[in-house]
């Protein structure tokens, strides 16, 4: 589906005077529809102007490109008119001459009288026909910018680009010009991209606001849709019930960026103080949960859709994030209270493994089981797991993309390779944001990736990759994603009569139960493809993906897949410390973290079983606790809970030496 304007994996690097490279922009992907008004917002120096220059064709990106109506943009041109903050008009020509010059140079096919007509019309459009003979120096800053805009629109460009057009003006003029610009753009229906640091301006004018993170390596942090109806007027917009909510969202993003730039760690507050604060705040802040788009986030989205949070008396906001790194950052600065994390992450975070500072988390439930696949690019011409093993046994190189924080997919894949006699160290593991894995595969940066079903389905749908292995061949029904909350938040909200933590768990549990019923599949699809969720463009791949045995078709395997993506049935939601124990063994095995001294205590702390069971009580659900002590991974392979260390040590390619106590 080609969109009107597309930024495709755009990166921009600059070489400084001393030879070092500054990575200004990193992997920007953005699609803009015709007639849309998009604002780029971010702190100064984050690269928004660089991005705009790339859109205009004034700069060439180091990687990736800009595609307008199907053709790549390589140089500037009048169909992508730019209005700059300063120096837009030539000061040595009159106002009329400035507009006429542009028309003369661009619209050469028109006759002189037609051009004169258009010049007058353009000036009249911004009510400046009376001052047409004056020189720009005799006009105020606001009037100059109006002329610049009129000139731009007179050329009938396909794309209008504005680089902080009102930044140099005082507040009153800015206000007037914003309204005038809005009216002009609405009337002309022109696709517009505007760079601004003024949040209110963005909200008034745009259909979508794109928030950029701070540089270096700035990327799109979040995209916020602005739902105010058109035609708009400032007063109505200001009084819209959602205005301040959206404004706060944008401001909080910018605040977060500021805090992340400073990297000042928030000092830990004692639990009593947190509880007092939580109890006494006049309008309690909503609970914020982060997630990455994927099938495993379904229970959260369903809970929101069906207002199950409100049913528990809670206000919950879901934040769709771009990468695990972003979720990690937001949890650390307490912008998020919890998130849908991979089952391996809470322990990684709690122990501070892989060179990060420890951040204690509490797992309230398992969100989903199964759902991973290994996808290899079609250019590799490997079509099965045997082919993969052959490739590796021959010592050929392989670059695999895995999510940027430790995922079950990676752990399972390593485990499987080791079992097959291949040292996982042979593979070059590239950690990337899950959203970028497909693009990286298509861009040739990696040979394949291990990720969730959604991305696997997309790859197959676009014929860029094929599934060669699923996790059901490694450990059927393993815990894939969990809902984890910050320990400090849980402590602050657990001593109340109506504990918010329990309510949260209950709401998501109810949603999970809903998801697992086949009769609800259609509704589930609807919820997932709404614009606030994944968007309608994922409808087709999701439909394929939710069909149970679709992936098996390409494998020619007789083994039928068990239920893919299990959310609830078979005690799936239980936050099982035994599975955490397995994760610990893997962390030790691969040398990612030392074997913990007090593993029992650690597991009790991280896995909030009591919370979960209280939630079950509240919902009247019984029999949610599994009873086994031995877990079967693949055929003939068992994980014995009683001897985890020897298990870890005896696994192939383990970095643990047998003489450890």
């Amino acid at each position: 589906m080609a969109s009107f304007l597309q930024l495709d994996s755009v990166e921009q690097n600059f070489t400084r005077a001393d030879g070092t490279v500054l990575e200004a922009l990193s992997t920007i992907n953005l699609e803009i529809s015709k007639g849309e008004f998009v604002s780029l917002v971010g702190h100064s120096g984050c690269g928004k102007s660089t991005l705009l220059n790339i859109l205009a064709g004034l700069n060439q990106p180091s990687r990736g490109g800009v595609i307008l109506e199907g053709r790549q943009v390589t140089e500037p041109g009048p169909e992508r008119m730019v209005v700059f903050q300063n120096y837009s008009l030539l000061p040595w020509r009159s106002v009329r001459q400035n507009v006429a010059l542009a028309l003369r140079e661009v619209k050469r096919e028109l006759s002189a009288s037609e051009r004169a007509e258009r010049t007058e019309a353009a000036l009249a459009m911004v009510n400046l026909d009376k001052v047409a003979e004056r020189m720009p120096g005799q006009l105020s800053g606001g009037m100059r910018q109006r002329v610049a805009i009129a000139r731009a629109l007179a050329l009938e460009p396909k794309l209008l680009l504005l680089d902080e057009p009102f930044g140099a003006l005082d507040a009153l003029t800015r206000g007037h010009l914003q309204e005038q610009l809005m009216q002009l753009c609405q009337k002309a229906g022109i696709t517009t991209v505007m760079v601004t640091h003024d949040v209110d301006e963005a909200l008034l004018l745009s259909d979508r606001v794109v928030l950029l993170t701070n540089g270096p390596k700035a990327h799109i942090g979040r995209i916020v849709a602005v739902p105010f109806e058109r035609p708009r007027c400032r007063k109505a917009v200001l009084q819209h019930p959602d205005y301040y909510k959206l404004r706060n969202e944008l401001l909080e993003f910018l605040h977060d960026q500021r805090r992340l730039s400073n990297r000042k760690p928030a000092p830990p507050k004692p639990a009593a103080e947190l509880q007092a604060a939580a109890a006494s705040s006049p309008s309690p802040k909503p609970i914020r949960l982060g997630y990455l788009p994927g099938l495993d986030a379904a229970p959260l989205l369903v809970a929101r859709q069906k207002q199950l949070f409100e049913k528990q008396g809670l206000r919950v906001e879901l934040l769709r994030c771009q990468s695990w790194e972003e979720i990690d950052d937001l949890l650390r600065i307490e912008r998020l209270d919890g998130a849908a994390l991979s089952a391996a992450q809470p322990l990684t975070m709690a122990t501070g493994a892989m060179a990060s500072t420890p951040l204690p988390m509490v797992v309230t439930q398992t969100l989903s089981r199964n759902g991973n696949a290994l996808v290899l690019g079609t250019q590799l011409s490997i079509s099965s797991s045997e082919g993969l093993l052959l490739h590796l046994r021959q010592g050929l190189p392989l670059k695999l993309g895995v999510p940027d924080r430790l995922s079950m997919a990676e752990l399972l894949l390593r485990h499987w390779l080791a079992r097959q006699g291949v040292d996982p160290a042979q593979v070059s593991w590239q950690r990337r944001s899950p959203m970028g894995l497909l693009a990286a595969l298509e861009g040739g940066l990696i040979d394949g990736f291990a990720a969730g079903k959604l991305r696997a389905c997309l790859a197959q749908h676009r014929r860029s990759g094929r599934v060669v292995l699923t996790d059901s061949a490694i450990w059927p029904n393993h815990a894939e994603k969990v809902l984890a909350l910050r320990e400090s938040w849980v402590d602050a909200h657990s001593n109340q009569a109506n504990s918010a933590a329990v309510g949260l768990t209950a709401a998501v549990l109810e949603a999970a139960a809903f998801c697992d019923q086949t009769s609800h599949r259609q509704e589930l699809l609807q919820v997932l493809t709404e614009p606030q969720a994944f968007g309608p463009q994922l409808l087709a791949p999701l439909q394929e993906g939710l069909a149970e045995s679709n992936l098996a078709k390409d494998l020619n395997q007789a083994t039928s897949l068990l239920r893919f993506n299990r959310f609830f049935l078979g005690q799936a939601s239980y936050p099982d410390p035994a599975e955490g124990l397995w994760v610990l063994t893997q962390l030790a095995r691969w040398g990612m973290a030392p074997w913990p001294n007090h593993r029992q205590e650690l597991l009790e702390r991280v896995y909030g079983r009591r919370l979960f069971l209280e939630a079950c009580d509240r919902l009247g659900m019984i029999d949610q606790e599994p009873t086994q002590r031995r877990y079967q991974l693949a055929e003939g392979e068992y994980f014995d809970l009683d001897e985890p260390l020897s298990y870890a040590t005896n696994l192939p390619f383990s970095t643990l030496s047998p003489c450890l106590p």
């Binding site: 702190h43 005082d170 009153l172 640091h197 910018l254 605040h255 500021r258 730039s261």
Partner: protein, 265 residues
């Protein structure tokens, strides 16, 4: 805080009017401005460019004499500039050939003659450390960023423990991140000293975050006080909880409405 500990002083503007002679006759900038500021209060003056905010505060700082009316500080009329009414300008006004420390010490020396230099230096150092410039004591203004220079200017003003502090769009030239940090640091310093503060700004959010009251001037010429907003939020103020407070949006809209609809044209 007892009366003797409160450093701030009461400020009164009584029927202030100010006119300037010009080529085309007299231009009346201010007319009939009446304002009482309690001791230790933080007041922001807001209005469009050129409406006369700077002129009004100049009558307080003593750089201008009002054509009519009088400005009183604790009942005494203002006669010229003085260290009891310290001013922080938008363009820092630091001496570029002196280090940050020397700039602050210079200010201290001017009001505390005869005191040993070591004492003044240590006080200056302490103040600079409070604004986070402990590592930049020996840097010259040219080596510092805009935000850091403004910190030195604020440190210099606050080191003199003025009873009245006047700020003229002090953060106007800074980027949003530095602006927010400096606002918070200003509040911290103010909390320690509780001087009376009058600050000019055109940023509504800044005014709502910092002040006890926001005074909105009408447009010039002959500007006067249009409306005064009382800011009810508790101190110490937390930016995040402020944003979520419903009253914040209402106050903001009121201010915007005043500025854009009743004054715009």
């Amino acid at each position: 805080m007892t009366v003797s500990e409160r450093r701030g002083r009461r400020v009164e503007f009584n029927a202030i009017g100010k006119s300037f002679p010009s080529d085309s006759g007299c231009v009346e900038v201010l007319q009939g401005v009446n304002l009482s500021v309690a001791a230790g209060e933080f007041v922001c003056v807001i209005g469009h460019s050129g409406c006369g905010k700077s002129t009004l505060l100049n009558t307080l700082s003593g750089f201008e004499t009002p054509s009519t009316g009088s400005v009183l500080v604790e009942g005494e009329p203002v006669e010229g500039p003085g260290p009891d009414r310290m001013v922080v300008f938008q363009n820092y006004a630091l001496l570029p050939w002196k280090t940050a420390l020397e700039n602050v010490v210079l200010g201290l020396r001017s009001i505390r003659r005869g005191e040993p230099r070591e004492l003044l230096v240590s006080e200056a150092k302490a103040m600079l450390e409070t604004v986070g410039l402990g590592d930049a004591l020996d840097c010259h203004p040219g080596e510092l960023s805009g935000g850091m220079r403004q910190r030195v200017a604020i440190a210099r003003a606050m080191a003199m423990k003025p009873p009245v502090l006047i700020l003229d769009e002090p953060f106007g030239a800074l980027d949003p991140i530095t602006k927010e940090e400096l606002q918070e640091e200003l509040l911290t310093l103010w909390r320690q000293q509780r001087c009376t503060v009058l600050m000019i700004t055109h940023d509504i959010d800044e005014a709502l975050f910092l002040s006890d009251r926001v005074v909105m001037l009408t447009n010039g010429p002959s500007a006067s006080i249009g409306e005064i907003l009382s800011i009810p939020f508790d101190r110490p103020r937390d930016r995040d909880s402020l944003l979520h407070d419903q009253r914040y949006g209402e106050l903001r809209n009121r201010a915007l409405e005043f500025l854009y609809e009743r004054q715009g044209g």
